[in-house]
Symmetry: C2
């Protein structure tokens, strides 16, 4: 699939998800290239249909995009809870386990998800996989002592790589932490891995989102497909 | 025990611990009022005895104090491991489970402890307790969504209080996070509590240091007492 075709599928998924936002809702707005299309469509609905809702964002860049459309954005702590969060995902398997954080916003994304009544992911079909892990699993790590965390991951065979930007400087999250990507190829036991990672001193969060999502909207040839999690 | 008497006990414990540092060692230097005496004594040994070692510090303020004595301080990631770390504790029980973080440096303290071959705590006798928990348990929390974390703790009966400074502003750790103190009075099952806290999204670390310490030097009437952990 070429880039242009993939973008068409992302856009279709984003537009479909935007139909779920209703007047008066508190909506969580995720981060990433598919979410950009979703927020663009919300902006269109605000302007053309008079849609009015409150947003909670998972990154500075989504906040700026949404505010550019006149969408009212509040802090996650200014709302009792979030009615519905729409976010992207880097991979999702048949058990609705996913990897997120390719965009380095996994911590805020997980905090917003944790405070959401309902979660929808929008992806193109290339993100739906049998076993997660081919996409490198992002782990947010405190810079202080990060070298030792990376060595620990190496010793466990997790194949960690400190994420760098184009100039070779470590990428910093919105919380100024590092991102270490684990090149695992296949994650057969995601719950065990999640437990191990979160117990590692220096790890703030990881990109495993296990059985958190209610619905996945998949941009696919023709119409987007909707997958509903039976266990939520 | 009045403040002056308590300070005498702290100082005695700090001086005793300073004897453990040898030429050429990589030593972890903790944080807190008892550790200040320890670092003062190291400073004296550097000046009067020509003691030479490399320090790794757990807070900006200990770094400044140590460098004031001409002690060479390096980053935790610049050493392979730490030979011995001397730190304080806010409470320690008979099973060598402790609470740390009264000074808001628990994250760096735990990272340094995790990378230390041997750990010594120096305390005055008021810190040795039957059951930990009377000292409020510090939890380091990401500011984004911290209000929801506090509500979750309230619902669980953890009696959380966001730590404020004298001007009523939230205290920030060296990593710019909040500190939430849990007023539990008694922690009967520290391992279960530790597991619950570390799995709470938004929690970076907590102040439970369970069976990590090798030796506790207790400033007590007469001579400091040395408690050795049989399980380490």
């Amino acid at each position: 699939m070429d880039q242009e075709e993939q973008n068409k599928l992302k856009k279709a998924a984003g537009i479909k998800a935007a139909q779920l936002i209703e007047n008066g809702m508190v909506a969580g707005l995720g981060t990433g290239s598919t979410v950009r299309y979703f927020v663009d469509e919300l902006g269109r609905r605000v302007k053309e249909e008079g849609l009015s809702f409150t947003g909670v964002t998972t990154s500075v860049r989504t906040k700026e995009q949404a505010e550019g459309y006149g969408i009212k954005i509040v802090d996650v702590d200014d709302v009792e809870s979030i009615d519905l969060t729409v976010d992207g995902a880097d991979e999702v398997d048949k058990d609705f386990n996913g990897i997120k954080g390719g965009g380095a916003a996994l911590l805020w994304e997980k905090i917003v998800a944790t405070n959401s009544k309902k979660i929808v992911w929008i992806v193109d079909q290339s993100k739906v996989v049998d076993t997660i892990g081919k996409f490198p699993l992002p782990v947010e790590v405190i810079p202080f002592g990060a070298g030792h965390v990376i060595k620990t991951f190496e010793a466990k065979g997790y194949k960690p790589v400190l994420r760098l930007d184009d100039s070779g400087t470590p990428v910093r999250t919105d919380e100024k932490n590092f991102v270490v990507d684990l090149h695992l190829e296949k994650i057969e036991h995601p719950q065990e891995l999640a437990d191990d990672l979160i117990h590692t001193v220096g790890v703030v969060e990881h990109g495993l989102f296990l059985n958190m999502v209610n619905t996945v909207i998949v941009g696919a040839e023709g119409e987007p497909k909707v997958l509903t999690n039976p266990n939520k």
